[in-house]
Subunit: 353 residues, 2 copies
Amino acid sequence: MIIEKIAESRFNDSVFESTVFGKEFSDHMLIAHYKDGKWGEATIKPYGPITMTPAAMSFHYGQTIFEGMKAYKNENDDVFIFRPEKNFERFNLSAARLNMPQIPKEIFIDGLKAIVDIDRKWVPQDYGTSLYIRPVMFATEEAVSARSSNEYIFAILLAYAPSYYEKPLSVKIADFYSRAAQGGVGFAKCGGNYAASFFPASEVQKEGYDQIIWTDSIEHKYIEEAGTMNVMVRIGNKLLTAPTSERILNGVTRDSVLTLAKDAGNDLEIRPVEVKELYDAYKSGELKEVFGCGTAVVITQYDTIGFGDERVQLPHLAEEDSFALNLKKKLKDIQYGLVEDPHGWRVKIEKEN
Amino acid sequence: MIIEKIAESRFNDSVFESTVFGKEFSDHMLIAHYKDGKWGEATIKPYGPITMTPAAMSFHYGQTIFEGMKAYKNENDDVFIFRPEKNFERFNLSAARLNMPQIPKEIFIDGLKAIVDIDRKWVPQDYGTSLYIRPVMFATEEAVSARSSNEYIFAILLAYAPSYYEKPLSVKIADFYSRAAQGGVGFAKCGGNYAASFFPASEVQKEGYDQIIWTDSIEHKYIEEAGTMNVMVRIGNKLLTAPTSERILNGVTRDSVLTLAKDAGNDLEIRPVEVKELYDAYKSGELKEVFGCGTAVVITQYDTIGFGDERVQLPHLAEEDSFALNLKKKLKDIQYGLVEDPHGWRVKIEKEN
């Protein structure tokens, strides 16, 4: 790895006053180029523009994948990242489905540790805030021909992350648009999945909702995921979530939350969840909580759910009675290094650079 | 429109000796920036790299759409483009679905005419060759947050196009992977649709096929399209093709071919076409031709079709007996300005710059 440090850091305390997610980039970025069938040496250098041809294939054929992770700082100034191996594995699963090259561990994991180490002053200490880590790969070959690119850039970018959603969200259950086809790319963290979701999201926003809960594309009968989150449903004291599949992202936060729920002795069911089941549970008073989980949002509660033209209001539970808030606190306490880490999820970033 | 001409043209005759589609870019490109809710003035300037941040949203969330068109030259050195209004309309339909801004006609159509005029020496004269025109729009805002970009680049690039597929192709009918979901973006010419298709295409290439014919994502029961082409089937003397839909691109070549077939008195049926119907017609000897049509390929014949593990060979018709070859000649003759243009499809590029 080549390291070219910035002459003078751009960091100042006002960075942590930003309330916008993913706009304040740190001093450095990691860049690696794939060409002639192999990855070149990764370089950590000052964050800034790169030159690209407008004929770069990612602008045309959309070969682009990413991951989202966070770095946390405890009161002793120790910096941690969370389960990076899971993101590394998923990145390469996404790469395979998009016909992009595999990224070696020495670039992804070692690069990640090195850049977070170098930019550790950009990791905020306030509980709930973090430094967002964005590994990304995109096609760069100069050609307008509908085929896989032979050249790629892999990059790691770091940007300040204030708390994502502060208040409970209002969500509408998809009954027309879809996120993923059977035999498609729903499980991959690829650009196309996100681009396809923005218009349907803007449509529900016109109706006053914040987001969409996606359903299966065939009948809109089953809950799938929420685009930046997996979805969990509490009926009575039972926690339900859809199994991951070719259409649903295998969320690291989802897996962590399910593990913590199991540890807590919660009654869990991982199986297809019908929209009708949710609605019926609401009618009978058994629908206690619905929430999303993902790296950016951690856990976010939904308080209004739209079923077609009907909007239903979920109960407001006291903090101690909420599965969502209890699980969120447990997860964050592990991430921020405040409690024991029974599953070995935290990775401490050593000071080496 | 601002025009900054290249100091010295890069053109030389060896450009037209290239056998690779979309790699030899012309002297100029058109670039327009969208920011603060509006398009800036378009600039035609020398083709070359632009600076971009690796945090540009198109690299992450895949908001990117494009069109494909061609410029043709006849023996009098007149240059023509073909039905540009259709591509303009479709581009804005794609933009709407991807939650990207509409592009005004003065940038798309007037820009197109101006840049083709300026780079007219790059339009080859040989029948079957052309100058490929690539309008494209991609997200450029510097942010890692899963939402629509507020900034975009619209560009028009020109690249030499030799004949695309010279020999008939061998195609496999999709029985596992899918291209488009109901309620998805199949009808839009967006990057994500292409990126998602490359891995499935590479899988059938391992089996010795050139391409995939996509089927519906629910049952793989109906023929949809071929990714860069719409698909037409001739059973007996009847020409069949699927209706366009939210899952199938509304091809300009498809529409032109159907119009020419109607003009010729061919028996046409535009309706869902079952895979089984194709197979049964093959068995009974009634399956005469299957071919794809699209701007890049014009019309390309398929000679081998894979149904699951079974490969069937289509009959080799004499040129005068083939619907595909007859329609292809009629279409090309119009495009190259060799015959009358009864539908007013050709647009002559006047010498103004």
